[in-house]
């Protein structure tokens, strides 16, 4: 690969859950970095353009450079010597790697959890309680004449969400695009996103549940107390008008973000929203979607679900999967000081978990897989440098609406993929544990 630059069409950006697949990447003639990322948003551009293959060692053991084989051996030893090994992260890697991670947890009788538990885990729990009505993003692009965002700021977190999926697109059913849609926002403060809204409800912090509950009562025609005006800061007149609009639309959608799911009330907030949308289906077609963050967090949910039956927070201590958020979710397992080994794949709990959890991380052997050094990898017993998915590594990722896509990597990396490292560790664990495997290695 020398001389001319290479162009990758329809490349896939995994920076956020939008997983835009219309990026045109230009790779420099040396095949070492990306010079252009056409169609990408500001976040996507920096994701692609700032990605450089740096001169890190492939692995560190106790902070000292080590070969891949040595590191795999060291990691396998950490794992097999643990009584409660916990694997965490997985939202920024391919489904192929995620599968290997679940296999390791299974063969170790360990614990596995993804970043879902700290973002839309509450949504998952709410969904288990009350169900949902949802749609793939194209249906929203095509049909949604009422679009509402609750507790999120897509303009900044998912810059192309409006343009590609929900606000601007013109379609057979909505030939005038945004003009044919009503855009509503609910948030505790004006944001970049709320500027484009036809309707903006600025609610008092911590009153989402009450507002959703009052809206449900309005939809269902049930009694409720006017005090909700005072509690939420939204007048009943406005609320009634809004609910009427929601019932009257042809196809409504309610997107929601972590402003709803990670504030007090958590899974109940999400559940209230999902139930509101379900209630609205007695009048019209209405769907909801969490605006999920990381590139392949939705894939992690899917892989863990199909392999174990449960979406996140899965424990194999007894030889079969068990699920219990709060009990087997990583922040809790570490916060209570329960895990005795931790493997982090493409995540950095060392920088964002509670002080208690971080203190515990420092007290146990940690294995990290990440393209770059992280706060967590500073404490790692074994730290692998891996290639970046989507840029260097092929594989499958899921968009926030559960639509899977095959990655189109731009150039090779000298580093192994997460999948390769994890498979090597898995195979070594099986050897050490005497687990014979007939699984043929899967061709990439």
């Amino acid at each position: 690969m020398s001389g001319s630059s290479k162009v990758i069409e329809n490349a896939i950006c995994t920076f956020c859950g939008c997983v835009c697949d219309d990026i045109e990447l230009t790779v420099d003639s040396g095949g070492k970095y990306i010079t252009q990322a056409k169609n990408a948003c500001v976040l996507g551009k920096s994701w692609f353009l700032e990605h450089k293959v740096e001169d890190f060692p492939v692995a560190l053991i106790d902070g000292k450079e080590a070969s891949l084989e040595e590191a795999v051996e060291a990691a396998a030893q950490v794992f097999v010597n643990a009584k409660f090994p916990t694997i965490y992260g997985l939202s920024d890697t391919t489904c192929e790697a995620q599968k290997e991670a679940v296999a390791i947890a299974d063969y170790l009788n360990g614990n596995i959890d993804t970043t879902t538990s700290v973002c839309h885990g509450p949504t998952g729990m709410a969904f288990q309680g009350v169900g949902e009505s949802t749609a793939s993003l194209g249906e929203i692009k095509n049909r949604a004449d009422f679009v509402m965002y609750w507790g999120g700021n897509p303009a900044e977190a998912h810059p192309r969400h409006f343009e590609r999926y929900a606000v601007n697109p013109k379609s057979h059913w909505l030939p005038n695009g945004k003009e044919d849609r009503t855009i509503a926002m609910v948030d505790i403060r004006p944001t970049q996103s709320s500027m484009i809204a036809d309707i903006f409800l600025q609610i008092k912090p911590g009153s989402d549940f009450e507002l959703l509950w009052a809206m449900r009562a309005l939809v269902k025609g049930r009694a409720f107390d006017r005090s909700v005006e005072e509690r939420t800061g939204i007048s009943l007149d406005r609320l009634e008008a809004l609910v009427q609009q929601m019932k009257d639309c042809q196809f409504g959608v309610l997107f929601f973000g972590m402003g709803l799911t990670m504030t007090r009330g958590r899974h109940f907030n999400a559940g209230a929203l999902l139930q509101l949308v379900t209630d609205l289906n007695d009048f019209t077609h209405f769907v909801s979607l969490p605006t999920r963050g990381h590139g392949n967090v939705t894939g992690a949910d899917n892989v863990v679900s199909w392999q174990t039956g449960y979406p996140f927070g899965v424990n194999f201590n007894r030889g079969y999967p068990r699920f219990n958020p709060g009990e087997f979710t990583t922040a809790d397992v570490l916060g209570r000081g329960e895990a005795d080994a931790l493997c982090v794949i493409a995540s950095d709990p060392g920088s964002n978990f509670s002080a208690k959890a971080i203190e515990h991380i420092k007290s146990i052997p940690v294995i990290t897989l990440d393209p770059k050094p992280t706060v967590t990898s500073q404490h790692a017993k074994v730290a692998f440098t891996t290639a970046t998915y989507g840029i260097n590594v092929p594989g499958t990722v899921y968009r926030m609406d559960n639509v899977p896509l095959s990655l189109r990597p731009a150039f090779d990396s000298p580093f192994p993929s997460d999948e390769m490292v994890l498979r090597a560790i898995k195979e070594r664990i099986c050897e050490l544990r005497g687990i014979t495997s007939n699984h043929k290695p899967v061709a990439a």
Binding site: Q128, F209, R216, A217, A223, N317, R318, G326, E327, E338
Partner: protein
Amino acid sequence: MKLSLHTLPTVPLEAEVICPDKFIGNSLDAISAMTVMHGNQACSLADFFTLTDDGLETIEVDGDLSKVKLIGSEMTQGKIIIKGSVGAHLGALMTGGEILVTGNAEDWVGREISGGRIVIKGDAGHLVGSGVRGSDTGIQGGEIIIHGNAKNEVGNGMRRGLIVIGGNSGDFTGVNMKAGTIMVLGQLGQRPGASMVRGTIFSTQSAQLLPTFTYNTTYKPTFLKRYLIYIKKLGFTIDDAYLNGKYQSWSGDSLELNKGEILLFAE
């Protein structure tokens, strides 16, 4: 039978074998050899506990058991006394018998029980007397008595039975309740009774209720006095003011059947 913790577990210890039903008819040796799961390692009870046969059927357990889960799980009879604090899922799926804990308990005390009585002298974690995620059914009977505070989701999905919290309860007390009684002698957290269908939530303090609850009256509910006297006999100190006082009665959740009630002390 007396058990005394001699080795602190380093990771969660799952010890559903500590249960009268499992011990009955077994020798000390057989009981000592019963399997507990220390993380992913199968160990014996004796690896963690010193066992002494005092000839009594009551099981007495000593030590810091806050990492020991599932004690008394599926218990149908007899008594367990825990001198200290205890881990999650205490008495899960219990149908009879009694468990007494002198210290605190972690989450999921009395998950899905349908009978028996659990008494915690200290505080309890989240989801006291609740069902599992995804299920709409919590406890179906029995009594859970917490003398201290409890965290969120007390009695989630509760269908029958009595839960008493001597101190404060967390958010969403009695959420999704189908029936039964939750008595909180302290302050209710946010949004009590959300989605409740039937049942009673009581508190000696005022509380901010959801908009889908409507005020009925302030009166002296006879049945409540019956309940207060009942729990007084269980060892709670109940002020005469509460025994003879008036309570605000609220109905909800109007999004469901609107047959639930919240009673808040008024005067």
